[in-house]
Every structure is written in structure tokens, then in C-alpha cells.
Symmetry: C2
Subunit: 453 residues, 2 copies
């Protein structure tokens, strides 16, 4: 196919363009990067126009904008809707990066930068595959792009946009590259995603910071109280103690669990890679099951009192924590958020005040391996990688997958090309150029096979 | 007495000079204020020289310097050693201050600034009482000053200085104004002080920050683990669970406890002042007892993960806490620090690494109400305030009191003039000018009565 040759011939430019995009610190969570988030959107708009997309526009929302582009070659042909996001996670802690997060570098065949994999690198594979097919006049079906800038903060405004643009977004399949494969030796397709419920807790003790000597022991310390509350959220079997939390969790059959555990996984390598002596999780489940099919709870951040250099004997007025749970079918993120909020408020002792603020959430999703989308993706991987993909269930959350099936009644295919070692959301996030180029090729084949359905 | 008139006539200047001292941000805990700490020492040296002290010197230590000054009028007369400190607590959180911490303002007869009471304001009362007595030729005994700059970080180098200067520091009593009275209606003298053991805990889970979706549930989260560990340090009766922690605690007799509980205290006012619905503490003890005679444990600071704006779904590599305990006779701070360190290391689960770093500590101290120093102080308060003082036991720690009795075999008298409402160690620390002036007068009388002993 001409497109594949075109990709080969334009490799270096495809990389240079991605570097340019990675240099824009489009951190959606932090308002001080607001201008940069828009810059990233404008970068995409300009590129779409250059490579021959039609009706390219920056769609305003109550938050960061959504970039839309399309190419309708023949209304009677199938339509692929590409979803991705151009915003990135905050880069802190900056001091743990070996090179500045927004100055991409190529090292050992890997691109190091915040967003290299999640999701600029993976999203841009679609843009370049589209460029190749258009340039070689090999685009076999209609394509629509919807690239948002709020995925890392919960896609709050995407729901509204989708609801208001059902016609415009009409399509036969949605394809998303924002997940990982098991390894380059074992390409895989994610068929299960977790939901998310994210809350912030504020515990207030005395109305001002106090001297821990003059008041210590006489007044509740909100940090100690917050620790008590957090510790009580999980029992010694690693189960979450919030009443009703597991009510809607679908237990997999032993067959399904066996299938899941067939995925190549080595516990010793896993521990070695993370530098830990032991893993920890819910009793009675393997690590793959804990991460893939069981709901989980993590404190994502905690702070209170004096956290500077040296020692300060303060009994603080306030303590805070950011707590999130990952959800599995059929848990509903709004219900769970309500459950957690009510539970935290109900266990708050009367010697403190507790304020719980829901941040954002999303529902879990499981996609079928029978649909045309999955079938075309599997064929494309087999063609490009020389191996049939393994279906896997991933601990990550892409809330919009559930949103799309509700709002647009269209299945999503998760054609991710990332690896665990990409360390997304961490310092020194990276993305292998092998995966970047292989992804562009795979996506090109995906279009061919899907058009033939 | 002439000196009292002199104080009256120089009130405004005494206040202006204190303001000048308060403008120097001499925060000993934070190395970026190192230069300012020395500035405060130099301010004192200059003032001592101006008001007629002899052998004034800035004594270097491994850390911040100690200011020494003296006036020996007659070796056969008794000698008073004044101890105080010119360093202050960190001022954060700055945003909670109504006026900048190092720009003192006078409002409703109160001086608002970091260090206004603890201890610049109280320490400077001695300097100005000394000035008055020298100016009026009414100094009735020998006086030595030892003003340090590391009290807020554990007086690490004071011990060395004292040990190396026993002869120079020879005295009949040590007087310290770094404590509070019950109220201006109920002047009191602190006869009991708590010891302190302060440690920092670092919990390390995975060797890097992880995506909480991809790894959550499969790997221990160091924040959750730290919360579990902290929660386990106290039981539901408010007792500290560290083995051996209470072994050396001297239980007071019912008579002593009754005596202690005679001090004027209103629980409703206490709760109202702190804005809390309920108090919390060790079962079986009153608030006065919990704060005064029982050992306590407080988390003074905690941090880990993402603490910025918005939401970040991170499973962090590390979590930290600063933990301190207040000790009572006969607990030894070094023993307790060792106990806590060993305990924290022993309860650390094998899925994390725990590092415990002792910060600083001090031993508890109880001073006698029979000694000449206490008697002279009691008479001075009766003279200046028109009321006999109530002996109290205070939750605060002045480790050097125990150090002095060990090293110099001299009793200390805690002639503090602060009030709880001064909010030391908190934002908007303040000191009443009534207490400032009344303190200068009380100290002047103290010298007269002690000289007569």
C-alpha cells in the first residue's frame, strides 16, 4: 500500500511534529496553563487544515476547547470517529524528571516528555495515518476527529458537546488510542476499562493552627483524624469497607478469570521493576485480577500541617486528602461517589468537621470482541505486528467510552500502543518510537479492514 | 522605685525597639533565613552594649549563635542567669495572617507579629528591665544573659555551650519568660513542663510515581500505608499504643490532680474559643490533665502524592509525616525516640520501606515551689499584679530547663507572661502590650526580692 511507503518516507517529520506538540505544556488541571492548552488545540487545527481535513474547527466549551475535523469521501461508506486528547497530566514532581517534561528528547529509541504516550503521541498517530491515506488517495472510508482538552480532568464538558452534536458525530465505530499493550512481543487490545470516582476530603479541627504543646492531647488533631478515617476505608483483607461499595460488582466466572490469567505476567519481574519486596491487594485475587477486574481505592494526595524543612510543633487546623476509587461493571460512578461522600461524612467524629468535594468520575466499560470494530483492529494488528492480539482488561479509566455507548450507541475500539514502561502520569513519561510508527501503520490497516466490513 | 518610673517614661521606646526586633525574620528552622537569624543576634548585642552590659559577645556554635551579656556588680551578691531565645517559628501558612508576620502592627492593645510573644517579646522584657535598673542605679544583684537562636529547632548546640561554659554561667537561679499565665485575672507560674520527641517518617512504596489505574490495587500505596501506621499509634481510648511508652510515666496522686483541676478552666469557653463541638483526649482525664500531666502524640505535618489544584490519578512513590510526642516525668526523650523509631520500623509492612529520622527532643521538667527563685517570683507577681500566682503545669516544652538542672545544678523559674490567645506558633501570633509592660515591671521586682534572699 502506498500509505505505508509514505509513512516510511516521512518518519522524521512525523517525529519532529510530535516533538513540537509535546513542547506545549497543555496541563488541563492547572489554570495557569490555560493559554498553553489552547495553543495545543490551535496546533492541531493548523495541522488538520494542512493535511486536507474538512470543516476543521476549535469548538468552545465551558472549559478547554474540543478540536473537530472530518473527511467525508462518500456518505454511503462507513465512518470512523477518532477520539483522543491533547491535554496532559501535571508534570510534578519536576525534580524527579531526568530532562525537562516539556522539552522532549529522544533517548534509546524512546521519546521522553509529559504526554509522549498519554495521549499526544498516541492521538497523533491517527492524525499522521490520516495524512498518509489522504496524501496517497487511499482513504477508504469517512473519518471524523474529536480531540478534547479535558480528559485528564474528567472530560466534564465533552458530555455536553456529544449530547449537542449527535448528528455531527454519527459514525459506525469509535477508535481510541489511549491504552497499553502487554508488550511489543504480545500486542493486545483492551476490552475492559475501569470507572473512576475522585473526591477531595477536608478535615477541620480547631479554628486555627495551635501549639502542639499547649493544646496537644486536649484537642483532636485533624491529621490524626484524617489518617484514622482513611485507614478505616480498607480492611486487612484489602477490601473496601464502604457499605454497598461492592453491591453492583459483577463477579467473573472462573472461566473468565482463567482466560484473564493466561495473559503473560511474571510477578518477580513486576516486583523487580517497581523495586518492591511484596505486592499488596485484595485477598483471593491475582495481581492481574486486582488491577483488571476488581474495584480499588487509592489516596492520590494528602497534606496538612507543617511540611517544610525542619520541625514545627503545630497542631494544625486542617488536613486534606484526594481519594479515588477505580470502578468495574456494573458500578455507577455517581452512585459510588455519593456512597463514599455519605460514608466519610457519617464516620466523621463530632470533634472535627468534614467536607467532601466530588472531583470527577466516569463509568466502567467493557467492549465486545465480536463487533466489527474489534475484528478490524485485530486483523490490523495481525497484519502490522505479525501476531494476533490478546484481549485484556485494563485498570485505567476512559470514562468517555461509557459515555459514547450511552450517547451515540456506537462501540469503541481501544487500539492503544503504549507500554507499562512508558510511565504515564509519572516523571520521565516516555513512548517508544517503534510503537509510534507501528501505531501509525496499524491504524492505516485498521481503516482498510473496517471499510471492507 | 525609680526603675518603675523609668519604665513608665520609656514605654513608647521600649515598644519601638521590640517592633524593630520583630521585623527581623529570624526563623531558625529554615536555612534561607540564616542571615536574618544572625541579624537578630547582632541587634541584641548592640542593644546590650548601649544599655551598659559588660562582656557582650556573639558566641558562635555549630548552628545559630548565642548572645551573652553580663553585669557583675559584686561577686558576693547573688547572680541571676536570664535565658531566652531570639529565633522564631516558621510563619507559614502566610495566607492565614491578617497582616504580614514580620511587619508588626499594634491593634486593640496587642502586638501582632511572629515572635511577638514567643519569645522575642518575653525575652526583651528582661533586657528592658535590666536597662531600667542599670539606668536608675538600682540593679541589686549580678545578672547574666544567655539568649540563643535555636530554641525552635531543639537547642541542639546550647547543650555543648552550657557544658563548655559552666564557670561563666555560674548563677544562683535561672529565670525564663517563655510560658503563659492562665489569664490576666489569674497570674500563674509554670512549675511543670513537658518533654518532646520529634521524628520524621518516610514511607516508600514503588520506586516511582505510578498511574493509579494501571497499578492501583496491585501495589501498596505509601499514603494509605502511612495512614494505617499513624492510625495504629493510638487506641480508641486515646492511649498511645507504642510498647513501653508509658512505663516511666509518674502517675500523680488524686490530691495532686485535684490541686491541678482547681485552676480556673471553663470547657465551654475552651470549645467556643477553638470552634470545636467536642474535645478529644485520653479517657479518664480532664482537659487540664490531658494537656498538663499526660504524654501526648500529634502528627505535626503530613504530605505525599499530588497536592496541587485539581485531580491527578497518581499512586505515589513516597509519603511523609512529622510526628511528635510530648513527654512527662520521668520519660526520657532519647529512650522514647528510640522506642518510637523501633516501633514504626517494626510495624512497617514488607510491601513498603520505612525510614525514621529523629529530629530533636528534650526532657520534661518540674520545678519546686519551695526554692528561693519561685518564692521571689511569687512575691514579684503579687507586688506587680496585686494577686498571688497559681502554680500550673504546662503542656509546652522548654527542654533546656532539664538541661540546666543537669548541667548547672541550678533551678529555673518560669516567669512567663503570655496568654493562650497569643496564638504562638500560629498565624496572627500576638502579645498584649499590657503583659509586655507588666512583665518588665514584674521582672524588676523579681530582681529586688531575689537579691534580698
Amino acid at each position: 500500500m502506498e500509505s505505508i511507503k509514505y509513512i516510511e518516507e516521512n518518519k522524521q517529520r512525523f517525529l519532529d511534529e510530535l516533538f513540537e506538540l509535546l513542547r506545549i505544556p497543555s496541563v488541563s488541571a492547572d489554570s495557569k496553563f490555560k493559554g498553553d492548552v489552547r495553543k495545543a488545540a490551535e496546533f492541531l487545527k493548523a495541522n488538520f487544515e494542512k493535511i486536507g481535513a474538512d470543516n476543521v474547527e476549535i469548538c468552545e466549551t465551558a472549559g478547554h476547547p474540543i478540536v473537530y475535523a472530518e473527511k467525508i469521501i462518500d456518505p454511503s461508506k462507513p465512518t470512523i470517529l477518532v477520539y483522543g486528547h491533547y491535554d496532559v497530566q501535571p508534570a510534578d514532581p519536576y525534580e524527579l524528571w531526568d530532562s525537562p517534561p516539556f522539552e522532549p528528547v529522544l533517548k534509546d529509541e524512546r521519546i521522553y516528555a509529559r504526554g509522549a504516550c498519554d495521549d499526544k503521541g498516541q492521538m497523533y498517530m491517527h492524525v499522521k495515518a490520516f495524512e498518509a491515506m489522504v496524501a496517497c488517495d487511499e482513504l477508504p472510508c469517512n473519518v471524523k476527529f474529536m480531540i478534547e482538552g479535558e480528559e485528564e480532568v474528567g472530560s466534564d464538558n465533552l458530555g455536553v458537546f456529544v449530547a449537542e452534536n449527535r448528528e455531527k458525530l454519527k459514525s459506525d465505530v469509535i477508535v481510541i488510542s489511549d491504552t497499553s499493550i502487554i508488550s511489543n512481543e504480545h500486542p493486545s487490545i483492551t476490552v475492559g476499562l475501569k470507572g473512576l470516582s475522585y473526591l477531595q476530603v477536608e478535615v477541620t479541627g480547631p479554628n486555627r493552627d495551635l501549639h502542639s504543646g499547649v493544646y496537644g492531647g486536649g484537642v483532636a488533631n485533624p491529621i490524626n483524624t484524617l489518617c484514622d478515617m482513611i485507614a478505616s476505608l480498607m480492611d486487612d483483607k484489602g477490601r473496601i469497607t464502604i457499605p454497598g461499595f461492592y453491591d453492583k460488582v459483577v463477579e467473573l466466572t472462573q472461566e473468565q478469570r482463567d482466560e484473564l490469567n493466561k495473559a503473560p505476567f511474571n510477578l518477580d519481574d513486576y516486583k523487580k521493576d517497581l523495586g518492591i519486596k511484596e505486592v499488596k491487594g485484595e485477598d483471593g485475587y491475582t495481581t492481574l485480577e486486582r488491577v483488571g477486574i476488581r474495584p480499588t481505592l487509592d489516596v492520590n494526595g494528602i497534606w496538612g500541617g507543617y511540611i517544610g524543612e525542619g520541625a514545627k510543633t503545630v497542631l494544625p487546623s486542617k488536613a486534606y486528602a484526594k481519594i479515588s476509587t477505580r470502578l468495574v461493571p456494573d458500578q455507577d460512578n455517581k452512585e459510588i461517589t455519593e456512597l463514599i461522600k455519605n460514608h466519610l461524612e457519617s464516620i466523621a467524629p463530632d470533634y472535627v468537621k468534614v467536607k467532601v468535594t466530588p472531583h470527577h468520575g466516569g463509568n466502567p466499560a467493557v467492549t465486545s470482541t465480536e463487533g466489527a470494530g474489534y475484528q478490524a483492529a485485530a486483523k490490523a494488528i495481525e497484519k502490522a505486528w505479525g501476531k494476533a492480539p490478546i484481549p485484556t482488561r485494563d485498570g485505567g479509566s476512559i470514562p468517555i467510552v461509557a459515555l459514547f455507548s450511552d450517547q451515540l450507541q456506537v462501540d469503541s475500539v481501544l487500539l492503544g500502543m503504549g507500554l507499562d514502561e512508558d510511565a504515564i502520569h509519572s516523571p520521565n513519561e516516555s513512548y517508544g518510537i517503534f510503537n509510534y510508527y507501528k501505531g501509525i501503520e496499524t491504524i492505516t490497516w485498521f481503516h482498510q479492514y473496517f471499510a471492507q466490513k
